[in-house]
């Protein structure tokens, strides 16, 4: 067989055609693309906001459900579904009236009975909600648009409780009548987005369509409060597990937004003229060391104080979040809260980093070389790295620290064990929490066996925490915050490793993203794509 020049030309044309085919076949941008925002989010697996504290579930809730109140950029509760509310002179009776135009995605109107059922369901799980129920004499609807909460004793924190802590979505009564442990089976709310069931692809993508019948408030958007105006037709949440691929998709314009780009990709993002980093959840999270108060050596306050002296937050932040622009050291138990952060009783340990003092305090605590087990969450990079550094820091001062590597799921099971090390117990684990009030933040409780894992106990502190629910004004709470912090750092309920915020990455063409003061996600309304 001989190959002629004509054959070569034919082959060249064929090859050229074949190579150009993909760009011909590839979907060309349509006008609809400008009205559709694609966002790389983490995998949404739990849809009921009452069943999970996960940020992604909360964001799903923000999209499809509406709330009675919402926090503005200064963390102040503002009416959202509520038009008017009033409290009686004796502060024992609250009346809430819903605004006009509130309808569920199935067309049915939002009623006061829905709100009552939703509050009751939420209160089965949320600490603030439980407090309301403990004080409540009656929660009932007055008419179709009005409901009341009658209390046995005044509860100054009532309105704050409705908006802080676990997200309180207002659902149809038939959904909200389910026990909190049973998930709702529909995704029908009255929020600004409608969950598109037909396009739901678990593990791959979820689509939220604009609720064109939603009636927004008149006030301008401010944090989660104000007008929820959706300026796009649809938002598609993509689950791209590989962060490198997610960034490539962002660069290629196949997605508009990446929720949590890893720090080592920040330089790539910042060098691309079409992309930018932006912190949307200003609250961030504080990583801390939780010690087991029930087991030696941390049943002794001296050993807990030793940890405060030992930990150099800057070193820990270096291994947890490599980019210092997004981290800060923190000494207040209220972290970077603009409302409650303070410097009470922090002078004595400053920001740690004094191993000699720590060694001395461990000796004073009677530490005799027993093994200290640190639960290391290997599937959470920041927590895993911090655990390793903590173990190394402890070993340097002669403490026999041993890492117990495991997944977060295994850690969550083992940390519930109150027994000794020999019985499968533990001494230390690392976790994070986000700014909140001491009623809803489980980490900030110190009521012994009723407290969060680690079970710290301090009655004086708890008495002040109980008062938090009763006082009415911000100034009173700020004074309480100082007193509580003073006691906390005496008994050392936990030790901080530092504070970090997570920037998101998005194409510059995506504008109008709202920055919010909290830490649990951000709203999707108000954003739009510009050409």
């Amino acid at each position: 067989m001989t190959i002629t020049r004509r054959d070569l030309i034919k082959a060249g044309v064929a090859a050229g055609t074949a190579l150009s085919m993909p760009s011909v076949l590839r979907a060309q941008p349509s006008p609809d693309d400008a009205r559709t925002v694609r966002m790389v989010m983490s995998d949404l697996t739990v849809f009921d906001p009452i069943r999970s504290t996960a940020d992604i579930t909360r964001m799903h809730g923000f999209a499809i459900y509406d709330t009675l109140f919402a926090l503005d950029s200064k963390l102040a509760p503002q009416p959202q579904m509520v038009e008017n509310w009033d409290v009686s002179e004796d502060r024992k009776s609250y009346t809430f009236e819903l605004r006009d135009g509130l309808n569920y995605h199935d067309g049915s109107p939002v009623t006061a009975a829905d709100c009552v059922a939703s509050i009751r369901r939420w209160a089965q799980v949320d600490a603030g909600g439980k407090l309301i129920m403990a004080r409540a004499r009656d929660i009932s609807k007055k008419d179709e648009k009005t409901f009341t909460i009658a209390l046995k004793e005044p509860l100054g924190i009532l309105v704050d409780a409705l908006v802080e802590g676990l997200y309180l979505p207002i659902m149809r009564q038939k959904d909200a009548d389910r026990p909190a442990t049973e998930p709702v089976t529909s995704n029908i709310g009255s929020g600004p987005f409608i969950f598109n069931e037909a396009l739901a692809k678990p593990g791959a993508s979820f689509t939220y369509d604009c609720n064109e019948k939603y009636v927004p408030r008149q006030e301008r958007p401010d944090g989660f409060a104000g007008a929820k105006v959706v300026k796009v037709d649809s938002v598609i949440w993509q689950n791209i597990a590989d962060q490198q691929t997610a960034l490539a998709a962002l660069q290629a314009g196949e997605t508009d937004f990446v929720l949590e780009p890893p720090a080592d990709l920040y330089p790539v993002i910042e060098s691309d003229p079409d992309l930018e980093l932006q912190v949307l959840s200003k609250g961030g999270s504080t990583l801390y060391v939780r010690m087991n108060f029930l087991q030696p050596p941390f049943h002794n306050v001296k050993a807990r104080q030793a940890m405060l002296h030992l930990i150099d937050q800057e070193a820990f932040l270096g291994v947890m979040h490599p980019d210092p622009r997004y981290t800060q050291t923190v000494t207040s138990i209220f972290a970077n809260s603009p409302l409650y952060s303070n410097d009470e009783n922090t002078e004595w340990f400053k920001k740690g980093g004094d191993p000699e003092k720590a060694r001395q305090l461990f000796q004073e605590a009677g530490y005799a070389g027993e093994k200290i087990i640190i639960l290391q969450p290997t599937d959470w990079a920041a927590g895993s790295n911090a655990s390793q550094l903590l173990a190394a820091s402890l070993r340097k001062i002669g403490v026999s620290a041993e890492l117990a590597p495991m997944s977060w799921s295994e850690l969550a099971a083992r940390r519930a064990n109150k027994g000794s090390i020999e019985d499968g117990g533990w001494n230390i684990f690392i976790a994070d929490y986000s700014i909140a009030n001491p009623i809803s933040a489980a980490f900030l409780r110190a009521n012994g066996n009723e407290a969060w894992f680690g079970w710290p106990k301090n009655d004086d502190y708890e008495a002040l925490r109980a008062k938090w629910a009763d006082v009415d004004t911000l100034a009173e709470r700020q004074a309480l915050a100082r007193k509580m912090q003073g006691i906390w750092w005496d008994f050392v309920g936990g030790v901080f490793l530092g504070h970090a915020v997570q920037p998101t990455a998005h194409r510059k063409a995506l504008t109008g993203l709202l920055e919010v003061p909290g830490a649990y996600g951000f709203p999707m309304w108000n954003m739009q794509k510009t050409s």
Binding site: L19, M21, P22, S23, V24, L25, R26, A27, D43, T45, V46, F47, R51, S52, T53, A54, T57, V125, A127, A180, T181, E182, P183, T185, K201, P202, G203, A204, S205, Q238, I240, A241, D242, Q244, T245, A248, A249, Q251, A252, E254, D379, M406, S407, W408, S409, E410, L411, A412, A413, R414, A416, A431, D432, Y433, S434, A442, F443, W452, F453
Partner: protein, 313 residues
């Protein structure tokens, strides 16, 4: 033959049962459970306990096993603990991407790999043979994710020829379906091409040195007839075995490619389910995959009889 097939099908059911018991125990005896993941990192012990109770995770293991096994026997593989959707529905939605990717990969791997192998054997020691040796070393040693990232960078980001990621179902258009699978198919195929080509070359070399090949040449048979009518048929059994194993391996082993190219296939489903401890999904996929694996092997065994009539069951 019929008795043989029947015996193999029965053994398949036995294999699936053993896999089922093993996976059930492995998952339940491992520390951690879905309740802790559903509740989230800041959950209280009370919240976790409530979810665990509702999921029935507090029931004794034998009771849980019986519930599950009876369901399977009745054709009910259960619902996902997280999404609440039927497991079979979730699996069926993920089958198309994985099967599409696997079939395209096998077509590319077999056509290129066998051709390379034949050429290399025919011109043993020549340029093609040396190229194949170098290509094989590359195909074996470079991880699929490195090849994937390179292809994405060059063909998607720099040249803008192909999409970075994602999958379009075949009913969304043959063009978009194919275009989204080009890069993952190429990335995944390189290793298989190298493997199949090496086996084909070795097998062909052995046959080409047989007396009957020399006789065929002496009788004036053309190169084409010698290679494809005489040599390839006789070298076919080991090649077919390798192709069968590769295909079975592909079905369960595409997870890395699916992750890099964000293809919502079975591999991703299992990995996500394992991370979430979504027991019904993990158990069902592994049981079905083990059955599929055994059936592919059975198909390969039966195909031997077509290539080599001397093989009888």
């Amino acid at each position: 033959m019929a008795a043989y097939i029947l015996r193999r099908v029965v053994s398949t059911i036995a294999v699936m049962a053993v896999v089922g018991i093993f996976i059930f125990l492995l998952l339940r005896l491992a520390p951690g459970d879905p309740a802790t993941i559903i509740a989230g990192r800041e959950a209280t012990a009370e919240m976790i306990a409530g979810i665990r109770e509702r999921l029935g995770l507090n029931e004794p293991l034998p009771v849980q096993f019986v519930h599950w096994a009876l369901g399977i026997l009745g054709g009910d593989f259960g619902n996902s603990i997280f999404t609440g959707r039927p497991v079979l529905q979730l699996i069926s939605r993920r089958l198309e991407p994985t099967i599409s990717l696997s079939i395209l990969t096998m077509i590319l791997s077999v056509s290129v790999g066998v051709s390379f192998g034949i050429l290399a054997a025919w011109r043993s020691g020549g340029l093609v043979d040396r190229f194949l040796a170098a290509f094989s070393a590359l195909g074996y040693s470079v991880p699929v994710f490195v090849i994937g990232y390179f292809l994405i960078y060059f063909f998607a980001i720099k040249m803008h020829w192909l999409p970075v990621q994602g999958y379009v179902p075949i009913d969304g258009g043959l063009g978009p379906w194919f275009v989204h699978l080009v890069l993952p198919t190429v990335a995944l195929s390189l290793g298989y091409i190298a493997f199949i080509a090496r086996v084909t070359r070795a097998s062909m070399l052995e046959v080409l040195s047989e007396d009957y090949m020399r006789t065929a040449a002496a009788k004036g048979a053309s190169s084409y007839a010698m290679l494809f009518h005489h040599a390839l048929k006789n070298a076919g059994v080991p090649i077919l075995t390798v192709i069968g194993i590769s295909f079975a391996y592909l079905i369960g082993g595409v997870v890395l490619t699916e992750t890099v190219f964000n293809i919502p296939g079975i591999g991703r489903l299992v990995v996500d389910a394992i991370n979430n401890r979504d027991y019904p999904i993990i158990q069902s996929v592994l049981i079905l995959t083990s059955g599929l694996y055994v059936l592919i092997n059975l198909t390969v065994d039966l195909a031997y009889t077509l290539i080599n009539p001397r093989i009888r069951y």
